[in-house]
Amino acid sequence: MKKNKVVRIVFYGLLGIVGILALLFYSRIFSYLVAGVVFAYLLKPLTTMLERWKVHRLLSIIIVYSAFMLLIFAGIWFLIPMIIEQAQDIWTSYKEFMQKDGAALARFQIFDRIDLFFGQLETKLGIPMDQVQEKITGFFEKQFTGILSNLGDLVRVFITLMSFIVAIPIVGFFMLKDEESIKSWFLSVIPNRYFEMTIILVEKIDEIIGTYIRALLIEVIIVGILATIVLTALGVQYSLLIGLIAGFANAIPYFGPWIGALLAMSSVLISGQNPIMLLWVGGGMALVQALDNNLIYPIVIGNKTEMHPLVIMLTVIAGGYLFGILGMFLSVPVLFLLRGLITVMYRNLKEFEII
């Protein structure tokens, strides 16, 4: 008997080491996995709809993927050039504005703040446009000197980016195709005693993540479109870009709407439009928010997320402190997920007489 115990300890020890090594080995691709899962969650309602009509699952996924690709390409073809143009325009006119009127308006601290904000935005979002440009020109300048190292750099960046772009749909594809077998495999390692409870937990996680991701996406799209329409109607410049950002920012509770509104107002100031426009733009964005809060949000998300506004607000701030913009986006969903999980876990551990 003693021998068995030793073997067991050694075996489980080795298993633990292998597990830790595997975690370290795969830690870099964790983000791919998460992004792929999110992608799958977004497309799943569509494949489910096709499957309902007895379309084979593989074919359903291929159809949905093709439609999605088409949408992306159309987006790249029509929207992206417009957005980039607007982004460049806004940048140059902002610089011009700062040179021309900057001195006169320097006493308004807010413009310093905006300058700071743009600077931070660049670094926080991780799109160092100047650096990229420098890198590319520098690359050609140094062609004959440091060709190898520079090429390596560029290739590495390119490969990382491409592998991310390619990996997400592939991970998503297998998640959609093999959803049940992945779940089944995971459940097969759970002992009988905990089997039913684990099923309940897995389904709860699935429900929370699924509803949240889909609801958020719908809200982002609707608010983005509404903001773009309102801003275009008011004649605000760069309305497409600002509407887009406002839509995404809207996913941040409480703070997001202000980002959109402030951006729209800055656009009015920068492009030298009549200051009375500020009122109109503020009113327009407020209208969008009113629609969102009273119509869109209750319909797509509903009252499932009953939590005190103060808690949500503080969570967003804490997330922002720790992880920047990403933290502001993710802290509240993670909070909801954890709260839901802990509640369900506690109740089930009690009911299954485990604790």
Binding site: T48, E180, S188, E196, I200, E351, F352
Partner: protein
């Protein structure tokens, strides 16, 4: 076998056997091959030793089971007293269907009386399946309704016998 087994057209033997087995289950017998195959994706295979508890009375109701192999005893446990055996479920029978219809905890305890293999289907997967394929869903729910009605008739008979005895 193609890339990652993506384009394989034939089922592995196990899957075909599963479809054959599933057709023998009362509430699945009306389903065609495609429908059975889709349903079989929801199954989790579980193995139990003799005497192992599948679930106890009062546990939450999350899973429906089909007996693939072996035997399950449904019993009522009353404290320290000898448990009362309500039913013996052989291969091809199923249990835990009440939870599909009403929100209740387990009404009795299920114990494996010999080495047993069960197919488990989660209640939510089952309900999703019925919503996803309403036409199959109707067949399944109809068969389950039959089974529940049978149970009521049976219970009524027993109850009559019981009251007759008393008089």
């Amino acid at each position: 076998m193609g890339l990652f087994g993506l384009f394989k057209t034939k089922d592995r033997d196990g899957k075909t056997l599963e479809a054959k087995f599933l057709r023998q289950i009362a509430f699945l017998k009306q389903l065609d091959y495609f429908e059975l195959k889709t349903f079989s994706r929801l199954l989790h295979q579980r193995e139990y030793k003799p005497g192992e508890v599948v679930f106890r009375e009062g546990y939450p109701h999350a899973v429906l089971y089909i007996v693939r192999q072996g035997n399950i005893d449904i019993v009522l446990e009353e404290g320290d007293a000898e448990p009362i055996k309500l039913a013996e479920l052989p291969e091809k029978s199923f249990f835990g269907e009440i939870g599909l219809f009403i929100d209740t905890n387990r009404t009795a305890t299920a114990i494996a009386s010999q080495p047993t293999i069960l197919f488990a289907v989660s209640k939510i997967d089952f309900q999703d399946f019925i919503h996803k394929f309403p036409r199959i869903g109707v067949k399944i729910v109809y068969e389950l309704g039959k089974r529940l009605s049978d149970n009521i008739v049976e219970t009524n008979k027993k109850l009559r016998g019981f009251t007759d005895e008393k008089e």
